[in-house]
C-alpha cells in the first residue's frame, strides 16, 4: 500500500471516529437533557402540589353553612335519628343512611339534599336521616374511622332544629378521605356560627358522649343490610344505584318515585 493510500485510510478512520464521537455526544446530550429537564420540572411540579395542598389546609376558620330553605318540623327520634315530617303525613317514608366522611354522600347531598328537604316540607314524604359510621377500623386505616366517628358524634349532639345546617356544614367541610379533619375546635366553631353553641354541646363533642348512639346506629344499619353509603330506602326497600342517580340528576325523578310509592303498606322502618 502506498504512503498516500495509507494516509487516506487513516483520514477516513479519523473522520469515522469523529463521526462516532459526535453521535455519542448527541446520545449523551439526549439522555442528560431529558433526565435533567425531567428532574427539574418534576421538582417544581411536586413543590406546586404540596404548596397547593397546604394552602388548602390553612384556610383559616372555615365557616358554617346555614340552610334557609323550606323545612318540615324536625324531631330527634329516640334512637338519635332525625325525622322530618309535616304534620299528618303518614308516608311514604324515605330513609337516608349516610356517613359524613363519605364523598358520595356529599355529592348526593349537594345534588339532591335540598330536594329531599323540600319533599318533606311539602308533605310528599317523611324523611329520616340515619347517620352512622360506615368507615370502621380495622377495615379502614386511621384517621378515616376517627374522622367519620367525630362527624357522626357531633351531628348526634346538635339540636334537631339545627340538624340540617349542621349536616350541610359537615359535608361542606368534609375532609379529603384519609386526611384528618372534623377537629373538635372546628366542630365547636360551626356550632357558634349557627348560633347553638353551649357548654353541654362542647362536652358532648369533646367527650364523644354519643358514642353509644353511633354504635347503635351502625349496628342498625348493618342489620338493615346497608353495605355502602349513601343508601336510600323508600318504604323499607332499597333504592337502586340508578334510582339514586336519577334523584341526583333531577328533582322531578324524586317526586315521581315518591308518588309511585304513595301510601304503600306501612314501612317497617320508622
Amino acid at each position: 500500500m502506498s504512503k498516500s493510500a495509507r494516509q487516506g485510510t487513516a483520514r477516513e478512520k479519523l473522520a469515522e471516529e469523529r463521526k462516532r464521537q459526535a453521535a455519542r455526544d448527541k446520545q449523551r446530550k439526549l439522555l442528560l437533557g431529558v433526565a435533567g429537564g425531567l428532574v427539574l420540572v418534576s421538582a417544581a411540579v411536586v413543590g406546586f402540589v404540596v404548596v397547593k395542598n397546604n394552602s388548602g389546609d390553612g384556610d383559616g376558620a372555615p365557616k358554617a353553612v346555614a340552610y334557609t330553605g323550606p323545612l318540615a318540623p324536625t324531631t330527634r327520634q329516640e334512637d338519635g335519628s332525625i325525622l322530618m315530617s309535616k304534620e299528618g303525613v303518614a308516608g311514604p317514608t324515605l330513609v337516608v343512611f349516610e356517613d359524613f366522611q363519605c364523598p358520595a354522600c356529599k355529592s348526593l347531598d349537594e345534588a339532591a339534599g335540598d330536594a329531599l328537604l323540600k319533599a318533606a316540607a311539602e308533605g310528599k314524604a317523611r324523611v329520616i336521616y340515619r347517620p352512622f359510621q360506615l368507615f370502621k377500623a380495622p377495615s379502614f386505616a386511621e384517621p378515616l374511622p376517627s374522622v367519620s366517628r367525630r362527624g357522626a358524634n357531633a351531628a348526634f349532639c346538635a339540636p334537631a332544629d339545627k340538624w340540617v345546617s349542621y349536616a350541610k356544614t359537615l359535608y361542606a367541610h368534609q375532609p379529603v378521605e384519609g386526611k384528618n379533619g372534623f377537629e373538635n375546635a372546628e366542630l365547636l366553631s360551626w356550632a357558634r356560627d349557627l348560633g347553638f353553641y353551649s357548654a353541654d354541646f362542647e362536652k358532648c363533642v369533646t367527650g364523644m358522649q354519643k358514642a353509644a348512639d353511633i354504635d347503635k346506629a351502625t349496628k342498625y344499619a348493618e342489620e338493615q343490610k346497608v353495605q355502602g353509603t349513601p343508601t336510600l330506602k323508600l318504604n323499607g326497600k332499597d333504592l337502586t344505584q340508578e334510582q339514586v342517580g336519577q334523584i341526583a340528576s333531577s328533582p322531578a325523578a324524586l317526586d315521581e318515585l315518591l308518588a309511585a310509592a304513595g301510601s304503600s303498606p306501612a314501612p317497617s322502618d320508622q
Binding site: 477516513e12 469515522e16 463521526k19 453521535a23 455519542r24 448527541k26 446520545q27 439526549l30 439522555l31 431529558v34 429537564g37 425531567l38 420540572v41 418534576s42 411540579v45 411536586v46 406546586f48 402540589v49 404540596v50 395542598n53 388548602g56 356517613d99 363519605c102 364523598p103 358520595a104 354522600c105 355529592s107 348526593l108 345534588a111 360506615l134 368507615f135 370502621k136 377495615s139 379502614f140 386505616a141 379529603v176 378521605e177 384519609g178 386526611k179 353495605q227 355502602g228 353509603t229 349513601p230 344505584q241 340508578e242 339514586v244 342517580g245 341526583a248 340528576s249
Partner: protein, 158 residues
C-alpha cells in the same frame, strides 16, 4: 468501510420492529383505560362508598386533582394516547421528519411530567387509584421506549 450504509439514503436505516410494536400495544392499552376512566368520570350514577373499599372509594377520581384547568384528567390522558398513537402509525414512524421525532419525545416527556403531578396528588391524598396507576406505568414505559429509539437513531448518525 462504509459499505453497510445505504448510499441512496446516506444513513443506516433504523430497524426496531419490537420497539415499535411495544409502543403501539402500550398506546392501545393506555387508550382503552383512558376511555374507561373518562366514561366513568362523565357517568351520572354516583359512586358509592363501600364498607370493603379499602383502596379507592372514588376519592381519587372525584378529588380536586381530578381536573386540571377545568379539564378532567382522564380526558387529557385520552388526548395524549390518541396523539401519541398518531405519531407511531407507520407513515409517521418511517418518516425522518424531525418534527415527528421531536413530537414523540416531547409527548412522552410531557406525559411523564403529568404522571409526576398525578402521583404526587395521590400521595397527598394518601390514596391510590389502580386504573390511574396502570396509565402512569404505561406512560413511563413509553418514555423509556421513545428514549431508546431516539438513542439508537442518534447512534446510527441520524
Amino acid at each position: 468501510m462504509v459499505g453497510n450504509i445505504d448510499p441512496r439514503v446516506g444513513t443506516a436505516p433504523v430497524r426496531s420492529p419490537g420497539l415499535l410494536t411495544a409502543m403501539r400495544l402500550l398506546t392501545l392499552v393506555g387508550l382503552a383505560v383512558s376511555v374507561y376512566l373518562t366514561v366513568v368520570h362523565y357517568n351520572d350514577v354516583p359512586l358509592i362508598c363501600s364498607e370493603s373499599a379499602t383502596i379507592d372509594c372514588a376519592s381519587v377520581t372525584t378529588s380536586e386533582y381530578s381536573k386540571l384547568f377545568g379539564i378532567p384528567v382522564p380526558l387529557l390522558g385520552l388526548v395524549f394516547f390518541v396523539g401519541f398513537g398518531a405519531l407511531v402509525v407507520s407513515a409517521a414512524w418511517s418518516s425522518t421528519h424531525p418534527v415527528l421525532r421531536w413530537g414523540r419525545l416531547a409527548a412522552v416527556i410531557v406525559g411523564t411530567l403529568f404522571v409526576v403531578y398525578l402521583v404526587t396528588a395521590e400521595l397527598v391524598l394518601g390514596k391510590v387509584c389502580l386504573w390511574c396507576t396502570a396509565v402512569h406505568v404505561i406512560t413511563v414505559l413509553l418514555l423509556g421506549l421513545v428514549l431508546t429509539d431516539e438513542y439508537r437513531r442518534l447512534g446510527s448518525g441520524t
